[in-house]
Amino acid sequence: MKVLSSYQDGRLTLYLKGELDHHEAASALRRISRTVDDYLPQDCVIDMEGLTFMDSSGIALILKISRLVAETGGRAWVENARKQPLKVIDASGIDRVIQISTAARP
């Protein structure tokens, strides 16, 4: 998988692309931690439009990002999740601790 990012006015957007599983999660987290440390964002959008697959390793990653950003008083949320990742998110119940906004994509 790939992680791209952009930053503007206190808002960091992380674009996750490809398939997120246990194999990919560790290196993704390293990259994301570095980016979060660089910007210390107020808002952090986890943009999943390009994420075609995610399993429960993605749940752990989302929670970690959320905690990381919260350490410096920021807030993270998920945007544009496709159907499969969204189903995993729903089954996990993390929508109770982090905001999930959806895109109507297959």
Binding site: D21, D55, S56, A60, K83, Q84, K87, S92
Partner: protein, 145 residues
């Protein structure tokens, strides 16, 4: 249930094989004409079971993971994932949502997802002998097919 077709394979418990296992299951399931959502469910459940064998069964070595996929009568897909690793002392407890013996890179939601995405889940395990996870999914007949 009578078996229509099957495939068996094994691989070392290395994380690079997780995506292969998902893709293989999806390719085998294609003969049963699943919807995109059903395919997504199958890939997710396989990813969870195979990741468990890689992460939990063999903490300090790359043992073997065996997989068997079966197409059964009535358009039922059966997926078996087996390891000969350390086993699970209390299966019922391990299957509870959020239970994990892993670090904070684990969510403890693997079994919960397997159970909710598939139509059947059976876990058999013995300490120091290994774990066998068997899942079933009924692929629904398509209207007009």
């Amino acid at each position: 249930m009578k078996q229509v077709n099957y495939i068996k394979f094994e691989f070392p418990a290395r994380s690079v094989n997780e995506s292969f296992a998902r893709a293989a299951a999806a390719a085998f399931a294609a003969q049963m004409d699943p919807t995109l959502e059903e395919l997504g469910d199958i890939k997710t459940a396989v990813s969870e079971a195979v990741t468990n064998a890689i992460v939990h069964a063999y903490p300090d070595r790359a043992g073997l993971v065996q997989m068997r996929l079966r197409a059964l009568e009535g358009n039922v897909l059966e997926i078996m994932v087996r390891d000969r690793g350390r086993g699970i002392p209390d299966v019922q407890k391990a299957m509870e949502p959020m239970f994990s013996t892993g670090g904070d890179d684990r969510s403890g939601m693997g079994f919960t997802i397997m159970a909710s995405f598939m139509d059947g889940l059976r876990v058999r395990s013995a300490v120091d002998r290994g774990t066998t996870v068997t899942m079933k999914k009924r692929i629904k007949a398509k209207a007009g097919a």
